[in-house]
Symmetry: D2
């Protein structure tokens, strides 16, 4: 922390403040400038609130933070190395990471019935996906909208898993459901609307399954990383970060603004793997192929794409879903970019078993 004093601060006040810093276990170091004095604070300041420090004296003009607020998620925590997150699936463990092949996750917004989820699983598996996404519990803006089939949908996901060999990713909305979801799911998803639900983050961090953490719709990158820090601090190091579009001033055409620049930004800040969701990120299936291609070229480690056998009849988020046929064609296009950047594997088998 760096404390900037106002011009004209009496020497005695700087002295008093320095004593106060010492009593807080900090070592103050002073620079006397031409107009202003600046006090650097040496010691454990990561948990301190800059604004709070400012209250210590009316003579303080500004308090500037030098340290990053997160530790375990930071790239430095792993000495600059990317981490790999291995997820077990019926067909073997699949690694997510900067130096791993691209992982494709596909499936419907919500699990509607056995036929649709099994069919979708088989189709996306055949096209090259490694994971099936599908909601059993759905966060919906309206209490009157379809809320997911809940527990019974979990059984359908289990059936799809068995039929296809795909790993399962599904959302946890309520900490009370973690245990039963974890029986079926290989990755537990925290949705954008719960990124700031710290109670849930702590509990999901206290279990063993890897976690997919979606960015809150108006979360800063620091807040997103701090949410991941909650999970890691609770004991679970296997976190994948998923960008799904942020809220901005224009949602007339694309429902959200897909912030692809998080790819290089996160790469420099954290060791955790990155996933991009162009389906929620744009809200329209017509825009998905372009943004999926862009995400791969931009360096993402993984993609999550909505696929539904009949989008016009989908119980949720149909407009952003591709049909299985369109998904097949998209995978062909993605392979071209994936190979160009050397992140594609044609093998239908995971690279690691």
């Amino acid at each position: 922390m760096i404390v900037v004093m106002k011009a004209g601060t009496p020497e005695a006040e700087i002295e008093r403040l320095s004593q106060e810093f010492v009593s807080m276990g900090l070592e103050p170091e002073k620079i006397v400038g031409r107009h202003k004095t600046v006090v650097g604070l040496v010691g454990e300041t990561a948990d301190m609130d800059a604004l709070q420090l400012q209250e210590l004296s009316g003579w303080i003009e500004q308090v500037l933070r030098v340290e990053k607020p997160y530790k375990r998620v930071s790239r430095e925590f792993r000495h600059g190395e990317a981490s790999q997150v291995f997820v077990s699936t019926p067909d073997g463990a699949v690694p997510f990471g900067e130096h791993e092949p691209l992982v494709i996750v596909a499936g419907p917004c919500s699990v509607e019935n056995e036929e649709m989820i099994v069919e979708t699983a088989k189709r996306v598996k055949a096209a090259g996906a490694k994971f099936l996404r599908g909601g059993a519990y759905k966060p919906r803006t309206s209490p009157y909208a379809f809320q997911g089939h809940g527990e019974s949908a979990l059984a359908l996901l289990a059936a799809a898993k068995e039929a296809s060999g795909l790993g399962i990713i599904t959302e946890v909305m309520d900490a009370a459901d973690i245990e039963k979801i974890a029986e079926v799911a290989d990755v537990l998803q925290v949705g954008a609307r719960n990124m700031h639900n710290f109670s849930l983050l702590k509990k999901i961090g206290a279990q063993d399954k890897p976690v997919l953490l979606k960015r809150g719709m108006s979360a800063t990158i620091d807040e997103w990383l701090m949410a991941a820090e909650y999970i890691m601090a609770a004991g679970n190091p296997n976190v994948i970060l998923c960008e799904r579009g942020i809220r901005t001033f224009d949602s007339r055409y694309a429902r959200n603004t897909l912030d692809l620049a998080v790819i290089p930004v996160l790469r420099s800040l954290t060791h955790l793997p990155i996933m991009i969701d162009p389906s929620h990120g744009t809200g329209k299936w017509e825009y998905v192929p372009s943004m999926a291609m862009a995400a791969i070229a931009g360096g993402t480690d993984s993609l999550m794409i909505e696929v539904h056998p009949n989008p016009s009849k989908a119980l949720s988020d149909g407009p952003q879903s591709l049909t299985p046929d369109r998904f097949d064609r998209l995978m062909t296009d993605l392979a071209v970019i994936g190979k160009a950047v050397d992140r594609w594997t044609d093998s239908p088998l995971p690279v690691l078993a």
Copy 2:
């Protein structure tokens, strides 16, 4: 819902689509314009998703919603009348509402120890507040920051309640805590970060204590009202809406942008009472008096103001807290505006017992 067809849509397609609408229980009514045909859908369309309907045909250009998505929270639901929310306190029931005196809620961000919370309670009571705010469970961006004293803080709130006669407002972060919090609190608060936590909304709607619903930091007014609809749909009609600042592109001086225009907007849309929180809304105590005055003149029904006996030592949010002395002076100023708009009562006793 109004379905706008593209120019040149074949008559047969409009016919087919109309059949589909009929099969969904809707009555389609057609306007054949000069260039385009428009189909009005009569029937129960409130739960339908406009984008979803659009998937029914590639010839659909746009689907426009005519109805509001919420029912119970709407002003029409009470035939244009404002609702009153009565909250019991040791000193009698206090009404919140458009035609009631202004209600002042004050207290620290978090409950730190018995002395500070009891002292604060007495001071704000003496100055005219009817409720004490104070967090036992605190949502914090960092897992390493003070998370509130939890259950033991509830006992301290109970002590402050008894000592002062004030009603208690405190936040619920985890549905598992509702019961024990409700033993002490007179109003359960849903914080901004949980406004989209639908599991919590349903459970808090299923209990009896009045609910203070803070606006999510990037929630639209419709989303905020839909969150209130979740609580009302679950059976609890006693909801107070609290604006606490939204997230915008500029947070250099004020931490959030306090959206005071919600006062006239909400007044026209809903019957529910309105509270403004200028402390979180600006993030700096220096800006609180101006915005508190503005809120009263603008027509708020209630104010929530942070007060801490020693802001520089506060364990959370000190910079936005007034000292008790500053709060005394502010109440004097607020009374001037409150009386000018005829919403102020000097009586230290609630108007209703």
Copy 3:
């Protein structure tokens, strides 16, 4: 400026960098912390770009600015005193400022014909306004929309001025029009869309009439003050700052988000007078009274309110205009708040002649 070096920076690199700072005319002062070294730069750093400095060495982690980027607009520039901006009108000079009575500006979005502008002028004068607003040149999103009557409208404004005794405020969109507009107008307005038009700011700063500077729709407070700095640096000290709503994620009900917290924020940063425009700020006349009342209680020095004799026939911005009758009623309500905060004068004559 404060330069934070990365942990592990070689001593020789800090030495080299320090030489570089000296060659730039700065005095570097070093704090060696436990993990990091910080270099404070003493000297003329106000014009330097923090990001630019960072390019000087790959070992620099961060450059933090200590100084404010503006000078002439800052409160310190006038030793903490508020400035008064005097504007001449046919009825005498009217002062704008923190310690002056509230000034009301009213009138239509655009000047449509002589009858309407003269009638409006007389009505708003009778109700207590001191200035008539009215656009001769109108910024319109569509090239096909009414662009204002231009030069001929200036003659109508002159007629209204003579008929009413009101001062005239009108917008300059093109520097080529300054001279002819200044013949009629008492205050030249720079609109929100031109707040970043630096060519115009320089030219308007080089003439003598007072300037009303509207905030750009996504301008930060610092950018807004820097735009004022452009005008003052060009020689014109008579600038009034007008908040007219910013662009945020929600424009469903209110067209913009009126940022009333600029009142206390600007008060602490600048000596310049403040105006609030609740008409553009909300976009609906129904919301104008509440926000006008709030602005006065919050401490504004001036209000700009749209009034049109027949809003449904207005050639621009009708929906946000009050009728003269509604304006009369609003002025009665505003007087109540204005008197409560001691900023109201009943005198139809300006306080200064």
Copy 4:
């Protein structure tokens, strides 16, 4: 336009309103729904303001627009075909368009001296760029910052053009400078801060050189297209649209949020060519390669990249500039993606002469 009447509107009022619509030259067509009546307006409604219409009766609940506000820029205007914009350069005409090879524009933020601009021009030409960017007139937030060398910089651009054979793109900030800039420049740029400067748009539309229109930092896609419509309506059909990042709630790491989804969105709405500027779009050179790759894979027609021989000494925007060496390496990487999507030409000569 579709006019939704409130529930319970008297038949007589609907009748009166219909008469009014007829008197405005429109044909009203009525749908009587179960609760509400809806009136469709047939005729020339493109220039009408929805909010304005709403003022015609207090019984109107909502007015919904069916038509797009722009004409000439719309894809339909060219019957679904993309347009080509040909720009002459010393080496021949270069086409911009959906079916053309990718065009790379590179160069410094501002022209500093002859040596640097000529050197940069030669280096980026050798690497495959077709155009040199470089500012003679610079929009700067601070009046005290370097404002560009103005007219003398134009001579330097002319020298660089002659030395390299590259076309020149430079910004116009003041309509008074158009003529002299057009003597040197092959493309006139309208910067983000002037996208809403309608006077400038009209004047730049009245001259012949192709125009590069940058998106305003908080402009919606509709507003951006309307700005292009201004230029086309004034007679100039050669407009290229450049995304350069928008303003959102998070600018801690990337200065702006690069909105790459504009690529598929614009493709569906307009026939005009698209350019992406990842340098301004992110504000840091480290992020540029990832976003440049993403833009190509996403389908952009053109890229604008800042290159400076010595970024740490740049007079403006150094931190977002690549060195010529880094630019060389980037071009090698871009070629890989460009070839994968079949938009790359190795030929140093333009495809069209």
